[in-house]
Amino acid sequence: MAVMSYRQALHDTLRAEMLRDPDVFLMGEEIGRFEGSYKITAGLLDEFGPKRVRDTPIAEEGFTGAAVGAAMLGLRPVVEIMTINFSLLALDQITNHAAKIYGMFGGQRSVPMVIRTPGGGGQQLAATHSQNVELFYAFTPGLKVVAPSSPADAKALLLASIRDDDPVLFLENLALYNTKGEVPDGDEPAEIGRAAVTREGTDITLVAYSRMANVALQVAEKLASEEGISAEVVDLRSLRPLDRPTIIESVKKTSCAVVLEDDWLTYGIGAEVAASISDGAFDWLDAPVRRVAMAEVPLPYAKSLELAALPSAADVVTAVHQTLDAVGRRSVGAH
């Protein structure tokens, strides 16, 4: 067990997988000579050479599609798309090709590839560079979408993604790269399609993924220490498949839930989680499921506007208070 950053966990895992399997190679813009926009691939070009750390032209559709084609012949490409915003340029190759090739041809060739890409606003990057469109991919059968929130999950889910025979969109987050945590030694992959209860509680369920899963943990600690409210945190980790049973189990215990998400509210991941809770735990619910999500605007540059539009820990606390108040549970304290 070592303490390391999310960035380091990604870097070390990529390196270890390249050492383990000669069919694993990296491609993307500026990943070699420049060592990656966010330095995840630092040093790998020197160690593995240009064949396995391939700098590409600025051509997201082209190089993502090339990775799909290489995967069809059995290689295991790990593509870096500089931010998830730019993945929109590769949407055809991801949704029409990577996601479809196994099924549309009756299971004759699988597409064992990973697309690593960071989401996350809050960096004053303005509207086109601050979107969280993982939803587009989570919507699409044939793709798997994972979203680690900790260095340990970054490692375990990246191992799982690279070894999986299906295309996996691996969602990173700009705000998480420098966060630190304990990372187990060894190479035990996580199971894609399983959420994790990262904090147990009895009063309310907080459901989140990626950066917001950490916000949920912080809020839960604060609620516990300052108000005696016991919040359970479900970190989705996998957006497709979505681990509905774990969410439902938690809500059956707490009878109310708040969903946190960095994306827009309407049609968002939170909407899917809320609908799933309605389907699976309707009789256990004491209050409507609340969603804390981004304001529905193209994210502005000015810090004051950006902060107002993005969901914050304070917004989550408010939503928790209102939810517990609605069922008369906060006034009587934690039960």
Partner: protein
């Protein structure tokens, strides 16, 4: 550069073989159009009628170990590449024995055994894929070549330019084939392409390219062989443009009202199957009777293909979730449209905990 005959002298047996293959495409497509109008075949259905010489010439240039990616006008390629005609027709019929098990249909013929890796319905989608397949060959120091067929309209799409750029940058053994039938759906090449001599577009990527008469099977074969063997030996991409015509509409349902009678007559006058027939007779390679026998033989193959398709069962509904993922995964939804996300569990488990039914 080594000197090379512009056009090889065709061997009579070889010519007859090509004629048989071209006829197979012709008769299969005619029968397909009929089955479509009988509603045996669904979806979109694009035929290779008028492109038989191109299809056969291109396929003659490939070795067994080579890979082929095509667009949605793919029936002829599948037949000549070696897919079983019955299984191709079964795919068009949406049956269990189809080459793609009924999951793809007309636009998505795929058979890993003959290394034809689709059949792609999105214009230009196959270009990055083929480029990546060539990257995989190169990564493994293989000597296979990837052929990537497309239509004339595809040269306007971004993926075309991105793929050609990467192919040259990375020295990939891929041969891009532009089958110029002079029409998108109804849009002419001149209306859509600022450089209507499409093969010249390769020069922007320092890629060698050529244009060839797509109605001449030998010319197509020779040009494609040059490109394929160059790609194999020198690890260099190539772009070959074949120019031919479309005897029918864009798809079976298109009456092609946008074409004048003169235009249609001009295409018909160059019908590659009829032309080869006449050449074989006038050149003394075969008599009319012998060619009629080939036709009858091909008709039997097509008839048997239809019978096979008719007899093949529809895919079992129980197989609906078999091909979503290659690696099984927990919590993978297998819900049919009318089913609840969380079916009621046996016992009282799903009832209201405070007000159980029947209490």
């Amino acid at each position: 550069m080594a000197t090379r005959r512009k056009r090889s002298v065709p061997d009579p047996e070889e010519l007859l073989g090509y004629y048989r293959q071209m006829l197979l495409v012709r008769r299969f497509e005619e029968r397909t159009a009929q089955a479509y109008t009988e509603a045996k075949i669904g979806g979109y259905c694009h035929l290779n009628l008028g492109e038989e010489a191109t299809v056969v010439g291109l396929m003659a240039a490939l070795q067994e170990r080579d890979y082929l990616f095509t667009n949605y006008r793919d029936h002829g390629y599948a037949l000549i590449r070696g897919m079983d005609p019955g299984r191709v027709m079964a795919e068009l019929y949406g049956r269990q024995d189809g080459v793609s098990k009924g999951w793809g249909g007309s636009m998505h013929l795929f058979d890993t055994d003959v290394r034809q890796l689709g059949g792609y319905g999105i214009v230009g989608g196959q270009l990055p894929l083929a480029t990546g397949a060539a990257l995989a060959v190169s990564y493994r120091d293989g000597d296979e070549v990837v052929m990537c067929q497309m239509g004339d309209g595809t040269t306007n799409i971004g993926a075309f330019h991105e793929s050609l750029n990467m192919a040259t940058l990375w020295d990939l053994p891929v041969v891009f084939i532009v089958v110029n039938n002079q029409l998108g759906m109804g849009t002419t090449v001149e209306m859509a392409s600022a450089e209507p001599e499409l093969y010249k577009r390769a020069s922007a990527y320092r890629m060698e390219s050529a244009r060839v008469d797509g109605n001449d099977v030998i010319a197509v074969r020779d040009a494609a062989s040059l490109a394929v063997e160059r790609a194999r030996k020198e690890q260099k991409p190539y772009l070959l443009e074949t120019v031919s015509g479309r005897l029918r509409g864009h798809s079976v349902v298109d009456p092609a009202a946008y074409r004048s009678k003169d235009e249609v007559d001009a295409v018909r006058a160059q019908d590659p199957v009829a032309s080869l027939h006449d050449k074989l007779v006038s050149g003394g390679v075969a008599g009319v009777d012998e060619l009629a026998e080939i036709d009858a033989d091909v008709a039997r193959i097509v008839k048997a293909a239809v019978e096979f398709a008719e007899k093949s069962p529809a895919p079992e509904v129980s197989s609906l979730f078999d091909y979503t993922y290659a690696t099984p995964v927990p919590n993978d939804s297998r819900r049919l449209p009318g089913e609840a996300l969380f079916p009621a569990e046996p016992g009282n488990d799903s009832a209201d905990p405070l007000f159980p039914v029947g209490a």
